[in-house]
């Protein structure tokens, strides 16, 4: 680890300025620090300035409802989101994804902005000796190597899965990231990330010096999340689904479906959403049939074909959860 300075700006605008300060070789924003510190320890990132956001007020750590939309400060922790009565009532899918991420200790430190902008967990990326495409090298080691946990959609030339639990939930809820320090002042979460074919070295479209101040999203009271994990403590999901529904008169009017841990970006499943529209809430067979469509365009790698099936199950169960039900046979 190289020596570095720490700055504690009092506002997002000041943070943005520091993050673009050319007198430093690599100024980097640090929020909860969970991911940044990990990267520094592995030697993947060597900043000479850490811009610590912890001293910023500006509602950075608060959750509120404003004009029918949920507002979440960039510095709100996953633990806060998981236990917030406002989020649980108005956007259960977000509370559930936050509650299921990582571990209690991590959730107490990890912030929503950091969660969205964290780097992928691909085991080749995270170990220094692999000079893979994402680090500027010539190969993606996952293609021929160990790819049990890699992408089944949207991969190539890099096959990471997007690490954020919260991003797909925000996509379903029409989430928007609000920014300072750059040309734009906001960007929909659905546009925040790009697939590897649009640039393999990065995962999101923010420029250095653009700072996320807060997020907003629609109320999505009929929404739910289902993640499937190997281990129930301290593990990443193998596949997960976020589903938001608009229901009137016992019929699903429209749906938003977004999958996680299966693609390099939050993976929207419009065909599943279409198939869910018009389905009666009690018609489990139709919901299941819609869920199975999630696997249609999958292109699994050698060792991750099982994810296709898991995703279908996750979508089915998340949809039922959005309807306030559990899948039959689950106790």
């Amino acid at each position: 680890m190289k020596s570095f300075a720490i700055a504690r700006p009092g506002s997002h605008a000041a943070a943005a300025k520091l993050a673009a300060d050319k007198t430093y070789t690599l100024p980097v924003i640090k929020s909860g620090g969970i991911d940044i510190i990990d990267q520094m320890k592995e030697g993947l990132l060597e900043p000479d300035l850490l811009v610590h956001l912890g001293s910023i007020g500006e509602g950075a750590a608060t959750i509120s409802m404003e004009g029918g939309r949920l507002r979440i400060g960039a510095g709100v922790t996953l633990a806060q989101i998981a236990s917030s009565p406002i989020v649980i009532e108005h956007c259960p899918v977000l509370a559930q994804t936050a509650a299921s991420a990582a571990t209690p200790a991590v959730r107490n430190m990890a912030t929503i902005a950091g969660n969205l902008l964290q780097r992928p967990r691909c085991w080749y990326f995270r170990q220094h000796q692999f000079d893979c495409l994402k680090k500027g090298g010539g190969t993606c080691y996952a293609v021929e190597g160990e790819n049990k946990y890699h992408a089944i959609f949207g991969g190539g030339p890099c096959h990471i899965v997007h690490p954020s639990n919260l991003a797909p939930a925000l996509v379903v809820a029409g989430g928007v990231a609000h920014l300072v320090g750059g040309k734009r002042t906001s960007i929909p979460i659905a546009d925040l990330f790009h697939t590897p074919d649009k640039g393999v070295r990065t995962e999101h479209v923010l420029e250095p010096g653009e700072v996320l101040t807060h997020l907003t999203c629609d109320a999505a009271p009929a929404s739910g999340f289902c993640g499937i994990k190997e281990k129930q403590s301290f593990d990443w999901p193998l596949a997960f689904a976020c589903v938001g529904l608009r229901v009137t008169d016992g019929t699903i009017q429209s749906a938003g479906v977004c999958a996680g841990a299966v693609a390099p970006v939050p993976w929207s499943l419009p065909r599943v959403a279409e198939a869910l529209a018009g389905v009666k809430v009690g018609d489990d067979a139709a919901i299941r049939a819609a869920a199975v469509l999630s696997g249609q365009d999958a292109r699994p790698m050698r060792d991750n074909g099982y994810k296709v099936r898991l995703l279908g199950v996750a979508v089915h169960r998340a949809a039922l959860k959005a309807l306030g039900r559990e899948a039959e046979g689950l106790s």
Binding site: M1, K2, S3, G43, T103, R121, W123, Y124, R126, Q127, Q129, F130, Y141, E144, G145, E146, K148, Y149, I228, K229, E230, K231, Q232, S233, F234, D235, W236, L238, G295, P300, D303, G305, Y306, V308, R309, L310, V313, A327, E328, G329, L330, S331
Partner: protein, 698 residues
């Protein structure tokens, strides 16, 4: 499938009440450990220490083509870089080391050293390296043919790395003519024995201290290890303290593991489940030195007729095996228990009934029957009979372990100020040796546990064994009983004289000197009457062990009740009942904790743990605790240890046996639930789905 009704094991303890010398004692060092007051070797930073790190091969096979020693040496604080090899035969293999004034200087030095490696082809998969399988032997073929049915099945297990929470290493406080070696070890004395020439000191000039150990399980046995030897040589050379501990990745890569295994079963059996015979051939996945891959099946616990055994170690380019809690056993037990369940299924027999027929030990049969009642075996549904999404399964396995002799010297000192010391140099590797010594001493003397100060984990104390093979408690307890009895006898003799009592009139009870029926003198006052401190001595050795008929081997039986979600392949283990022979229990809590820990380790092995080597580069892709998965709190079933104390008044080995049968019992329970065996550990969702035939394109 979260279960809100999981009970703590302590809620099921009435069955064990009154079973031990001290039911309610907590670990003497429990609070120190959870508050951080306990200083492990890794916590000891001696001022002015040098820091050392190994230079390691990053690939399965790597040739060091270049490095920039000059640049590394220019980094402020870097003192030396020594590269002794040009090639590494596994990821993590050491080829040299660097010495620096600080960890920061080390890491900067390492990046400046800029080792460039040429990667060569590596052997990473046991199945691929086994080569052509030898045909079944003639005698085995004949036995196989005699059965009316036959089972041909392959079972496999993956490598379980040691990944001790306190990584391997030492911190040495070196002064030119003396040293204190703070070691994380299972053998305080074996570290001492390994270091004199390295430290260039006489044994009288240094002490090995090991008050606490953060996990060992076999990997911290056998001398000072690579880390200790290197650190000692550097300390002597620079005449300075040295700190050398592995980081998390190094811990996975190069401090030992339970080897992977493949077991090929070809056995013939009759319709009633009697096993006629055949062949069991095993392979162990080991490191480049090609040793240590034993897979203990047949275990000898069952009557398997005329079954021949053959074994071969298969070299991979990967970190090497090292003793691991019951070496060779869990992997063998998994294959053996699954094999029996498959035989039972083929015969339409209840697997418990089949086992009761084949188990050799009557005591284990009794334990199996007890465990079956406790888990509710009657509610077990026939294998493959369920159709729902979530299916329930029950399975079982058995265990046994030998009692091995070890030499122990124990001292119990009674001082004139009333304080009492129990002294032996052996270490407490987390089993509770410190507390065990205190309980045995205090109850033999007739004083309370808190009256005794236990001094262990120092090479300057009386000599004791390394903690391996479940020898520590069984061999220390008799030595401390003898030492405490000796001290008590000497004290009472002295007091008899001073108090003009009749021989045999005085005794000690509840910390008071009794004269006949009445309390005569308080402990402190009695000690003040002593002319000098009293030292009681006790020994335990092969001769005393051979003469002792109150104890012997220990057996056990475990039962598992689980649920599997057939849509996701995720397993939730609900309950594990572990009946374990203990002989005389010293401390109920410690004994239960030992069993619970064994079960947890076995569960983690069964469901999750897998050292994953990249098939292209030979590097381990998961040398961390993120992707090398170890069971956590939410994966825990309710664990119900049952202490079986019917078998004698001596202590029995308890360290290893409780981890042996867990993985097999879990796999059998899964088979019961699914109706299809999953013959490969760990039992991950992808394998479960594949077994169910629903893993799309998998």
């Amino acid at each position: 499938m979260p279960d809100s009704t999981v009970l703590l094991p302590t809620n099921n303890r009435p069955a064990n009440t009154g079973s031990s010398m001290n039911d309610d004692a907590s670990r003497l060092d429990g609070i120190a450990k959870v508050t951080g007051a306990a200083k492990y070797g890794r916590d000891v930073y001696v001022p002015n220490s040098l820091f050392v790190a190994f230079v390691r091969c990053p690939w399965g096979v790597g040739e060091l083509v270049s490095s920039n020693r000059d640049a590394a040496m220019k980094v402020p604080g870097v003192l030396d870089v020594e590269l002794t090899k040009k090639e590494g035969q596994y990821h993590g293999a050491t080829v040299g080391h660097m010495i620096a004034e600080s960890p920061a200087a080390l890491s900067r030095g390492m990046s400046e050293l800029a080792c460039r490696w040429k990667r060569r082809e590596a052997k990473t998969r046991l199945a691929e390296e086994i080569g052509e399988e030898p045909p079944i032997g003639e005698a085995a073929a004949a036995a196989l043919a005699k059965g009316s049915k036959r089972l041909e099945a392959d079972y496999s297990t993956e490598v379980q790395t040691h990944s001790s929470l306190e990584t391997h290493g030492v911190s040495i406080d070196f002064k030119s003519d003396s040293a204190v070696v703070y070691a994380s070890t299972q053998g305080t004395f074996s570290v001492r024995d390994g270091l004199d020439e390295r430290l260039k000191l006489k044994r009288s000039q240094y002490e090995v201290v090991c008050e606490y150990v953060g996990g060992g399980f076999g990997s911290k046995l056998g001398g000072a290890g690579k880390e200790g030897i290197t650190a000692a040589m550097i300390a002597a050379k620079y005449n300075r303290p040295v700190y050398l501990f592995c980081n998390r990745a190094e811990e996975h890569l190069d401090t030992g593991n339970r080897p992977g295994s493949r077991t090929r079963v070809r056995i013939g059996f009759n319709d009633d489940g009697t096993i006629v015979g055949g062949e069991i051939r095993t392979w162990g996945s080991v490191g480049p030195n090609k040793s240590g891959g034993g897979c203990n099946v047949p275990s000898g616990r069952y009557n398997l007729g005329d079954t021949k055994k053959a074994h071969e170690d298969v070299a991979l380019n990967a970190g090497m095996p090292r003793a691991f809690r019951a070496p060779g056993h869990p992997q063998g037990s998994f294959a053996e228990e699954m094999m029996l369940d498959e035989v039972a299924f083929a015969c339409g027999l209840d697997p418990l009934a089949l086992r009761l027929k084949l188990i050799r030990s009557d005591a284990i049969k009794e334990m199996a029957s007890l465990g079956a009642r406790q888990i509710g075996w009657d509610n077990r549904r026939p294998t493959g009979s369920q159709k729902g999404v979530v299916r329930r399964g029950m399975g079982m396995g058995i265990t046994s372990w030998g009692r091995f002799p070890a030499a122990v010297e124990a001292e119990v000192v009674i001082n004139q100020d009333g304080s009492i010391e129990a002294r032996t140099g052996t270490q407490d590797i987390g089993t509770g040796q410190r507390t065990m010594v205190g309980i045995v001493t205090s109850s033999t003397l007739g004083v309370s546990l808190d009256a005794v100060t236990v001094r262990i984990g120092r090479s300057t104390l009386p000599e004791g064994p390394g903690s391996g093979g479940s020898v520590t408690a069984v061999n220390s307890a008799p030595a401390f009983i003898a030492a405490a009895e000796d001290a008590k006898r000497k004290m009472l003799e002295a007091l008899t004289q001073r108090m003009n009592a009749e021989p045999g009139e005085l005794d000690i009870a509840d910390g008071v000197i009794r004269r006949g029926e009445r309390n005569a003198v308080q402990w402190k006052d009695a000690c003040a009457m002593l002319g000098n401190a009293i030292t009681g001595k006790g020994v335990n050795n092969r001769a005393t062990v051979d003469a002792d008929k109150t104890t012997g081997n220990s057996g056990g039986a475990q039962f598992v009740d689980l649920e599997v979600d057939t849509e996701t392949g995720v397993i939730a283990v609900r309950r594990i009942v572990a009946v374990q022979a203990c002989g005389r229990v010293v401390s109920r809590k410690l004994a239960e904790s030992q069993i619970i820990g064994g079960v947890i380790q076995g569960l983690s092995y069964a469901l999750f743990e897998d050292r994953l080597l990249d098939r292209v580069t030979g590097a381990m892709v998961n040398p961390n605790l993120e992707w090398y998965k170890i069971a956590g709190p939410c994966d825990m079933p309710r664990i119900e240890p049952i202490l079986w104390t019917k078998d004698g008044t001596g202590a029995r080995p308890l360290g290893e046996p409780p981890t042996i049968p867990t993985s097999g019992a879990i796999a059998c329970a899964l088979f019961n639930a699914l109706g299809t065996p999953v013959r490969s550990l760990p039992l991950t969702p992808d394998k479960v789905l594949t077994a169910l035939g629903s893993g799309e394109r998998a």
